[in-house]
Amino acid sequence: MAVKNGNLVLLRYKSASTTYTLAGVVSNSVEISHDPIDVTTKDQNGVATYIAGRKGGTMTVSGLYDPAATTGTGALDVFTLLSNGTEVEAYWGETTASTKYFKANAFITSISVDAEKDGVTQWSANLQLSGAISVETNATT
């Protein structure tokens, strides 16, 4: 059994051959879905039958807004990706050698920043996965 501390599970992305780790992240999630196609006919006595359909997914990330982030990229960099419509490679999972992660191409579909009185300013973004989603293993160093 290898239960994971959520702090180890990060969201990285690769753009123009460089891999970045998002800074200030508090939470990141991935949702992968499969939408099977209903091929049930009248003569199946009410038993539903499906064939494989579309697979897809989304990722979300939220964190502390730091426009001067130096330990990784932050909300402003993600905004640039959204503004330019850049397709990135997204990596959701652990980062150490021999550990696994989800990999998919993705577009940033939204970003929001919330600044409350007497509270820390936070941001969040949503990613739409595009194309195949795979499970990869971090290289052994």
Binding site: G6, N7, L10, T21, A23, G24, V25, V26, G63, L64, D66, T71, G72, D118, G119, V120
Partner: protein, 133 residues
């Protein structure tokens, strides 16, 4: 510790007799004790907190109800809504500590202390700062 020194320095400069946690046995009235009662850090997965929110409780003691109210009002006006770089005395040196916000959050009569025969009033503030700074 720097937050406590800022509180002591600003309160004293405003004319409030300040004590951390417990007053001196021979304290003259009115006086105010102050203490921190909790911290809420804002960590991320990969970075330490850069904004900690601390609860600071002031308890004012005075020999009359009106004097207690007056001293409490002075505490509120001294600390409510201060921010930025604050100076404090550290021995003979003057040092500085940054306060992100210092907000009056609640205030109430906390009764009459029969042992000291003093009225008391409690003020609660929320303070944003960076403890690790």
């Amino acid at each position: 510790m720097s937050l406590e020194r800022v509180i002591f320095t600003k309160g004293t400069a405003a004319g409030v007799t300040m004590y951390p946690v417990i007053a001196a046995a021979n304290a003259s009235y009115p006086f105010c004790i102050y203490e921190t009662s909790g911290n809420s850090p804002n960590h991320s997965k990969t970075e330490k907190s850069q904004l900690d929110i601390t609860t600071v409780v002031f308890t004012v003691f005075a020999k009359t109800f009106q004097a207690c109210k007056t001293a409490a009002a002075l505490v509120r006006s001294t600390f409510d809504n201060i921010s930025g770089s604050q100076s404090y005395a550290n021995g003979t040196a003057t040092e500085y500590y940054t306060i992100d916000f210092f907000r009056w959050d609640d205030e109430s009569d906390s009764g009459f202390d029969y042992e000291t025969e003093a009225f008391t009033r409690t003020l609660i503030f929320k303070v944003g700062h960076n403890i690790g700074n």
